[in-house]
Symmetry: D3
Subunit: 182 residues, 6 copies
């Protein structure tokens, strides 16, 4: 998939779940800064936590992202970090983001559905090149956490530190063991 | 399953998702007109679209159904076509339909849960004979769309035309490629 | 407020609550047909009924509108009549309507908020001239119903008939007498 | 309003908000036991608390009701006490209660809207005679609480005790002073 | 997992779905009474019914539990039986229960997620020993019901009787046969 | 009302609706920085806009706050600015904020209900002295906007500029003219 990028943007929307933030996200953020002045990091599924695919609360994810941006030397004044609860209504999702977020003029994603929804609302879309190694995936990192493998090197040190502070690995394990309430 | 049909009905409720409307639905509609004066086509899961099982919006499905009914020569004045968002509350679903729809005196469905819910609220149920060939299934048609097989012959020409106008096949493919937002 | 109307439209959206449909609405509908081929009548606050400002269910209102359109000699095949539950989220209301309804290219309303929301989403707006006499207002008609005055002449005969069939006046009175559940 | 009461009922539904339970409710409960074997006390607006019209949580109201029934010498095994969140959808409210509550065969209320909704779903309705003195009203009791007047004699001693334990009067005052968050 | 139980509790919360109540639950209830004066039985997923994992309504489950407690000789005045609709928001679930239920000072569960959520809100947790034979599981009982095996001996007689009265087995079968509405 | 402030806090929560941000808020923010290292500005009623009491979207309010903080010379790295949709459930509102926001150890408000809810969850509360002149109130500023009086001096220049850019005064007027959809 190739996207011609035409101009410099005022604000680029970068939606994700960030369960947790990892170096793949950091690479994308660096890349985006070549094309836009400000970045809106929209933390999706903000209402979800304590689930095997969504272990961390929106508040925890917000702190992780902020601490990692500082640690990596980014200028915080270029970023908006905003939790966004799901609406489960794809066709109005972009309008919903428009109401909750500062105006943006481009959307950055590799997710085909996000790309489609953004284009149907006439947004420019930035698709980051796949320089991110395949290990940089929230799902794979959560799997390593669950199986007792090393996961710390895939996330910024501040993210690893926060996950430990909140007993995040044990929470993930407990979430994974839970069948639905019987 | 056998249902004795006792009388002529004023209005028959025909609930479905119509993702998309196909000739199986058309056959059922023809059959229903033997038993009732007016038909309410309730488009379920109205809030869903851009998903692999629910690619089209309620508005798009409403246009497809209306154009197909015209094309097939039905008298539009006998039909109510109504989008109905999900409530995720089975035991009050029939009451919910009663509030949103004109009064009806029978329900037409082959779905065992719909049949049960309707009967628990004391509605007569019409179960159409399975003359519809097994190809006439929304799931199978969406599968053909995804795999690049021919699908146009399973739906009325107007439905095929609208799907093409809205780039429906590409939308379905994009929806199928999307994992949850990562 | 003056709106220059530039062209003929394919489909005009006409949102309202229709509690109940009255001759003011009928006049607007006649007027709109000069400017558009099809009309979408969106029945707002579809989830509300049995309230002093919203006595009738969406299903009842849908039947009233349909019967009145027939009675007044309109061609039903030009109309979409669609119940729309409230979302209580003004800034995405137009997007929500876009998802539930067939595509429209103009909005008809005298309500300043509706006009604003439509224009912010770049729709053409048709503002009907105030030929409707001031008696033609849902609020005034409901008030007459409550105080025992004559109200029948403000609505098409079919609407009056349906209201009587469903004991609508008594329902309105009961709703008005009810404080919140104590 | 006169209601002929035809028979003995298995379970009578008694819906209210019980903000707080007062001797008027106790009188109605005594009266109802002449007509039915079991009583379902449905605590409406269960999600509301810390508001001037709804100061107490559903959990607090449940304890007040239970303690008062014990104190007044009622046989607890005849009562179901059930919190019911609002659905803001009048026409399906009775169906909603049917799904959350044990089956009931009559409804007890003086509220005209409740009476109407129950009758539209074909329930027998018991309208208690207005022996309750007019002071026995939640609204009047809350007003006395706010203005520093004596209120304790209008509620059973256990209710007064619980309200004091939870600093209920101060909570009511704080709620009344709060404009919407500015 | 071992939990040291320190004291006697005033009220122990026992959350579950009770689809249906079985002898495993009865054993846990007996065991809990060694540690607490009152038990709150919170019926989770109260809004769900007519589904293969959730066949019975909250009202039906409430009656089953109450009848079984009576039949087993428990003192009903020690129990609160309360339907609780899902909120799909794990991190505030305990607060939600606090608002709907009488105050409790311990939570009883074997579910790792429930245990974690309760502990994060600083509740004592009672984990019942696994004396319950593995057959005592709602899932296994529903499976037996579906496959025509004997299931009656796993539940108290009153529960079996109610399930038969409401044609529960046929409802479960119908629910299992239903694909999503097509 | 007097609150003894005991210590220095890590993060202070400052909830409001900010319709719009005015110099009263700025004064409170300056005052808070004497007591805490970081401030979380929670923008309440995030889903509301285009209403007479809530004219601006959460996204617009977020930009206003950010631009004003910059303009006033605050260090942006000390602030979290977060939109928070209403939940209409007072007793769990604080838990809801805990899930969406970074951890906080004090709450700053003059609103008696907010103070009570925070204290019931054992938070320290900072009540700012009423140095803010009475003109500094969102309600009064919106009233001036509606009546054509001067309002610009009550808000930071960047806020006034943004309101003009988005035609905010006209939007407020349109919202005020709108009865409910008739």
């Amino acid at each position: 998939m190739f996207e011609e990028i035409k101009e410099r943007y005022n604000r680029i929307l970068f939606p994700g779940r960030f369960q947790p933030l990892h170096y793949g996200h950091i690479e994308v953020i660096k890349w985006m800064l070549n094309f836009g002045d400000e970045i809106i990091i929209a933390i999706g599924s903000a209402q979800k936590s304590h689930m095997v695919d969504n272990p961390f609360t929106a508040g925890e994810r917000m702190v992780m992202i902020r601490e990692a941006l500082k640690e990596e030397g980014f200028d915080l004044s270029k970023f908006y970090i905003v939790p966004v609860p799901d609406i489960e209504y794809n066709s109005i999702w972009i309008s919903y983001l428009e109401s909750l977020l500062p105006p943006f003029d481009a959307v950055c994603s590799r997710n085909p559905l996000v790309i489609r929804l953004a284009k149907e609302e006439r947004y420019d879309v930035l698709v980051p090149p796949f320089f991110l190694r395949s290990e940089y995936s929230g799902k794979k990192i959560r799997k390593k956490m669950l199986s007792g493998e090393k996961w710390e090197s895939y996330v910024p040190p501040s993210v690893a530190r926060i996950i430990k502070q909140i007993s995040g690995i044990q929470r993930l394990i407990d979430s994974s063991l839970s069948d639905e309430l019987e």
